[in-house]
């Protein structure tokens, strides 16, 4: 006769929990499993990144895995690592299970790079709100904001965060200078890679929300008054050719009017292409708007006091 005496499972005992974690993470590295077990004991949010990167690595094709060793924040999930949205769901399910967190579908769409994933998981593991969404700009918006224009604009899309900007540029092969650099052997000049990083710095100053940008009064940077002034510690290590996609990243090191100093790096499909320890831009602010423009709400809209359009003065 059948009897119904099996105990009803209640809270998993600690050793059961360890077994479950080990089973769930069985295709992850020993380091990942160890971090997950530690996290369960201590709740230490510093372990979250190790766990998440360990889980992500397990879902990568084997030939992609070495890319995650070392500095990898700039790597794009889809383009550099082949992680599609379904793989992301697999990653997130396992992360949710191990970290005991819940990740919203709509937040997933904003995770484009390893750095995004780390920043996001770090925040939620600490019970903090997810990091602010970056400002994303496409080529049309970039061309509208920037003083640079084709054929001398080396950014096609960009993401600006408070302390970082990323951009990409695909070398089309049609760039005018490639016919001479070099003869019958087009190579994207290293000097223009530095130029591209400088342009990302310009975009950062114009659209970024770094608190030090806005200390001037009234704090609006003038697009016509940003110039590259110096570079230090430049290393270019990869020959970049047509069809390569340059992934550019800059981090502000010091911003104090009239100088903004960034560290910059370019990779191509995860390989280091160039690195600049310090790239310095000078900048200045727009003049304050005329008083009449901000007074008397009863009046009809006044014409702009400052003429818009290309600036005519150079320093």
């Amino acid at each position: 006769m059948m009897s119904n005496t099996e105990p009803i499972p209640t809270q998993a005992k600690p050793h059961d929990e360890e077994a479950i974690i080990r089973e769930s993470l069985k295709r992850c590295s020993a380091e990942t499993i160890e971090a997950a077990l530690q996290f369960r004991l201590s709740g230490n949010p510093d372990l979250a990144n190790t766990i998440v990167i360990g889980i992500l690595t397990r879902f990568l094709e084997p030939e992609q895995r070495p890319k995650l060793q070392g500095e990898s924040d700039h790597l794009r999930l889809m383009d550099d690592l082949g992680v599609d949205s379904l793989t992301m769901v697999e990653v997130i399910m396992l992360v949710e299970e191990i970290l005991h967190v819940s990740i919203k579908n709509e937040d997933l769409r904003d995770l484009h790079t390893i750095g995004d994933v780390k920043g996001y998981v770090n925040a939620i593991a600490r019970g903090l709100p997810p990091p602010e969404k970056p400002v994303r700009l496409g080529i049309a918006e970039i061309a509208e904001i920037m003083p640079h224009q084709p054929p001398f604009l080396f950014l096609q899309d960009a993401e600006i965060r408070p302390a970082e900007a990323r951009g990409t540029y695909k070398i089309s092969g049609q760039e005018f200078f490639l016919s001479g650099h070099f003869k019958d052997r087009p190579v994207f000049p290293a000097s223009l890679q530095i130029e591209a990083l400088g342009q990302l710095g310009v975009l950062f100053l114009l659209k970024g929300k770094h608190p030090d940008i806005a200390v001037g009064v009234p704090g609006v940077v003038d697009a016509t008054k940003i110039f590259l002034t110096s570079c230090d510690g430049v290393r270019c290590t990869r020959i970049c050719r047509p069809d390569d996609i340059l992934s550019l990243t800059i981090h502000p090191k010091r911003i104090k009017h009239p100088l903004a100093i960034f560290e910059g790096a370019i990779t191509v499909h995860g390989e280091k292409a160039s690195f600049v320890e310090e790239i310095a831009l000078t900048f200045d602010y727009l003049p304050p708007p005329a008083v009449s423009e901000i007074s008397d709400p009863g009046q009809a809209e006044a014409p702009a006091a400052t003429p818009s359009g290309p600036a005519t003065s150079e320093p």
Partner: protein, 418 residues
Amino acid sequence: MRSVVVTGLGFICSIGNDKTAVSSSLHTLKHGLAPYAPFSDPKTPVKLIGAIRGFDTSSFDSEDWSWPADYTVKRDVLRGLPPHGLFAYCAVQQAIADAKLTPQDISNPATGMYTASAGSASMLHHNITRMFASGVMRCSPMGVVNSVVGTLSFNLVAAFKILGASCGFASACASSGHALGFALDEIRLGRQERMIVVGGEDGNLEAILPFAGMRALSSTDKPELASCPFDERRSGFVGTGGGAVMILEAEEAARARGAHIYARFLGWGQASDGYSPAISHPDGHGLALSMTRCLTDAGITPKNVDYINAHATSTPIGDRSEVSAIKHVFTGDKTPAISSTKGLTGHGLSMASILEAAFCCLALDEQFIPGNAHLRQPDPETLGLHLPVETKSAPLQFALSNSSGFGGANVSLLFGKN
């Protein structure tokens, strides 16, 4: 209409995992039936299965699976596959290599793929069980594409980057016959130059055992009694799974690239019984009409047919219905040799039709007629039919292959010597 030829074959089945092994089994009548551990419970009224060797797909986690080292299966392909998806994926790789086609020959708008599968009952069951137990947000994101009817098409069309026509066929045991017939038309009508046709079945407990509830499976553990089509001792079929692939090409395209041609695919026909969802009509009128239409389509008269690969699954009613249909169509003095290779393989359900069509192509290429394994005491109803019990080398010009599925769906296919 353009003529169509068969230039590539792929087999993962109970009698061999390549054409050499399959041909050898057909010649020596070496069956592929074996005891199946998941049926070992004494309460389970079925013991045997047509066993797939060299693969382990018993886990619900496809990353636990193993397969022969000759095949490469990347994780992004593997994660969406049901068990038969893996068999069929390997069989497609095999057929492409056999036909000496390049990735460019496969991935272009003139090459299509038709598949036949009933979906994966085991994966569907696993996914739905998990959904109820753990909530839908804890289910695999591939839980739909690895299980529902159509899974074979979704996965293989993506994996092989097919750009031409694609469709999954589901007419039970006639599925891959329909896939072949419509693929033939696709090329004859000039819509495609080349079609890859694939059949697959999990062949595991969830796919096979439910047929025991219909009393359709043999319960014996003796292979020679468990699958013995046309024998009066027959008591039901033995289930099997695997993957079978045929590559069809417009004849001029195949000749232009110097391809080996196994056989000419000359015609097909189909007709329905309109009788029962699960039982063949006793007089087999649907299958008779299907054969007649097939012969008309191919421009062949019954007396020209040398060999019929029968659908006969070893069930009492089904085999007798087919006998009646064959007697109705083949009335002359010269009757074809008839055999059911299911005595060797077991019944591959959705895959059966293409598996047996591929056997016909091998037989035409190598000029032999497969015998009826396990036929010792022919059903008296078969009196007057030529049912060889051994495989023999013989001149073979035209071979007909029959399939009948649930709902009384009947498909007949006709192949000719190159």
